[in-house]
Structure formats: structure tokens, C-alpha cells
């Protein structure tokens, strides 16, 4: 084994593409790195599409009249359609984030039930969390001449499903939190376990968006949207960094694989 290590560390090239090729061929953690990079790219893409292209984040006002909503759809016609096209295409990238998080729970001293329930919950989270919004707002944007009452319904439905999907992320976060806090292997630091409480509580804080049309608790409100999104960004950044550390800490060696049977 030591001979093999010496052999390919010597061959490790320096160019960017060369390095990628080296990792592809020799890095024993390549699957984990692929999942990690796909996760990071997904969140970058998500930010670009939702903030810059579709203008869905920060959300427009819930109290607009029908004329203003029709105006919004036509202002953002191309951005909505192309942006959500990208999201439809890459929706499956979320699975790699769920896979690596599920894997993190397999490294913990907890039952497999945790990893499996996390993967099961999150395998469908993208649908109420963003794809319904994408479908409804795309359908709104594709026919600007549709009856304004129907456009207004698509607008409401699109934003409420996007902002107001709560239970999936609430229970999913809860499962991960419990796993982290009872884990004896310290795969994640305990502060991150506690940070899960903050993320979990945002799902309660956002609930009034189903009731309010203006103010701090509406779907574009300073509390229901801005504070919650701030917490979510901190939380997401934290787990991306921590998952990277987890992958770096993994030590498979690079000897022969265990016999699969």
C-alpha cells in the first residue's frame, strides 16, 4: 500500500485540469467530493436563478392588485421561464446534498433509521419547496394574455408553496439535529446541532405568511422572509463547511476495497 501511495503522489500534476484528472483517477474520496461539489454548485445556481434571473427572491409584494401582478409576470417573462427551466433541469442535484448529509449520519453512532428517514423526507422536498413554485410561475409567465384573475391565483399559489412549505424542512432538520446531538463520534460539532434549532424554528416563524398579506409576517416580510432567509444562509454555509471538513477527515487509505460480499 505504501508503494502505491508513493507512486501516485509523485505523479500528482499541478494544472487545474490535471489535478481534477488526478483526483478522478486516484482520490479514494472521489464520490464524496463529487457530492460535495454538486451540492455547492446547486446552492450557487439556486441563488443566481432565484435572486438574479426569476426575481423570486426577495419576493414581490403579496398585496398587489391584479394589474400589478400581470405587470410583474410580463416584466420578468424571460427571466422566469429561462430561470425555472434551469431549475427544472438541475432539480436532481439536490439529491447529492441529501446523499452526503445522509452519509454523515451513517458515520454517527446512531441507527440507520436517521439517515434513511432524512433521505426519504428530503427526496421529495424539492417538489413543494421549489418545483411547484417553478411550474406555477412558469405557467403564469408563458401566457401573459391569460385572464388576470388566473394569473393572480398562479402568483399566490407559486409564492405560497415556495415560502410556505414548512413541515418537510421542519422534520428533516429535527431528524438531523437529534442524530448530531446524540452522536458519540462527534462527526459534527455540537454547536451545529444547536444551530439546527434555529433553522427548525424558522419554519414556525414563516407560518403567518399563510395569513398575512402585508407587514413583517407576510411572505415578503422583514421577519417571515428576511430574518428567516438570513438564518437559512448561515445554517447552509455552516453545514457546507462542516461537510467539507468531514470529507477531509475521512481516512479510507487507498488500499484494496473491502470484499463486497
Amino acid at each position: 500500500m505504501s508503494a502505491a501511495v508513493a507512486d501516485h503522489t509523485r505523479a500528482r500534476p499541478s494544472g487545474f485540469l490535471g489535478r481534477i484528472a488526478w483526483h478522478w483517477r486516484h482520490d479514494p474520496k472521489i464520490e464524496l467530493w463529487i457530492c460535495w461539489w454538486v451540492m455547492v454548485s446547486f446552492y450557487q445556481l439556486f441563488g443566481i436563478v432565484f435572486v438574479l434571473m426569476t426575481r423570486v427572491m426577495p419576493p414581490p409584494r403579496p398585496d398587489w392588485d391584479q394589474a400589478r401582478i400581470v405587470q410583474w409576470f410580463s416584466d420578468n417573462h424571460t427571466g422566469l421561464l429561462v430561470g425555472f427551466g434551469i431549475i427544472f433541469l438541475v432539480a436532481g442535484m439536490t439529491a447529492s446534498s441529501n446523499a452526503i448529509i445522509g452519509y454523515s449520519m451513517r458515520r454517527m453512532s446512531v441507527s440507520r433509521a436517521f439517515a434513511y428517514s432524512y433521505i426519504a423526507i428530503y427526496s421529495l422536498s424539492a417538489i413543494p419547496g421549489m418545483l411547484f413554485a417553478g411550474i406555477l410561475l412558469s405557467v403564469g409567465a408563458m401566457r401573459p394574455d391569460r385572464d388576470p384573475r388566473l394569473l393572480a391565483w398562479l402568483y399566490d399559489a407559486g409564492f405560497l408553496t415556495f415560502v410556505g412549505t414548512m413541515g418537510v424542512f421542519l422534520i428533516g432538520t429535527l431528524v438531523w439535529m437529534i442524530a448530531i446531538l446524540i452522536d458519540k463520534n462527534r462527526v459534527f460539532p455540537r454547536w451545529f446541532g444547536y444551530l439546527n434549532i434555529c433553522n427548525l424554528l424558522t419554519e414556525f416563524v414563516v407560518a403567518p405568511c399563510w395569513i398575512m398579506k402585508t407587514g413583517a409576517f407576510a411572505w415578503n416580510g422583514s421577519i417571515a422572509f428576511w430574518v428567516d432567509t438570513g438564518v437559512f444562509v448561515v445554517y447552509t454555509t455552516a453545514f457546507i463547511v462542516l461537510l467539507r471538513r468531514m470529507v477531509i477527515r475521512e481516512d479510507f487509505g487507498d488500499g484494496p476495497l473491502p470484499d463486497p460480499s
Binding site: 402585508t214 407587514g215 413583517a216 415578503n220 416580510g221 422583514s222
Partner: protein, 98 residues
């Protein structure tokens, strides 16, 4: 030694209760049914809240034994929060409906 700690905790608790009752007395309507905007009451109440929070943090949460950084952070948070709230109150800053 243990009884010393006990009596200090009891003293802190008593002080907190007394201060709460004072802010209750300040805030009670004194026979008037109507609430009126009152800067002195607001200042007093928020400052009392700051003192209470600091007592809880210092004594119950034992921040007086904590590293300097944590002491500065908690004091800084309480001070900044109360200053910000009083500034908004004094200068009547308000927010468009968002």
C-alpha cells in the same frame, strides 16, 4: 462556601423580583384607564430590563467567571440592543410596511 453561593443567588433573585415589581408599578396605569405615550416610563422600563438581563447573564449564567470575550460580547449585545431600541423610540424611526 456552598451557602455563600446560595445566599448570593437568593440575593440576585430577590433583586430581580423587586426590580420587576418596580417596573410593574411604573407601568401600571395608576387609576388612569388610558395608556399615554411616555418617554420616562419607556426609558426606565427598558433600562430596568437591561439591568435584569445583565444580572441573569452575570450571576445565573456565571458570565462573571467567563472569558473576557464572552463578557464583552454579552454586555455589548445588551447595550447595543437597548441603545438601538431607545434610539428608534426617541427619533421615531419607523419602517415602511415590509
Amino acid at each position: 462556601m456552598g451557602t455563600n453561593v446560595e445566599s448570593r443567588l437568593r440575593a440576585v433573585w430577590l433583586a430581580l423580583v423587586v426590580v420587576t415589581l418596580i417596573s410593574w408599578w411604573i407601568g401600571s396605569s395608576h387609576g388612569h384607564q388610558e395608556f399615554r405615550s411616555s418617554a420616562p416610563i419607556t426609558y426606565a422600563v427598558l433600562l430596568i430590563a437591561a439591568v435584569k438581563m445583565r444580572m441573569i447573564v452575570r450571576h445565573f449564567m456565571e458570565v462573571r467567571h467567563a472569558p473576557d470575550a464572552l463578557r464583552r460580547l454579552t454586555d455589548g449585545w445588551i447595550a447595543l440592543l437597548v441603545i438601538a431600541l431607545l434610539a428608534i423610540y426617541s427619533f421615531k424611526l419607523s419602517m415602511p410596511a415590509v
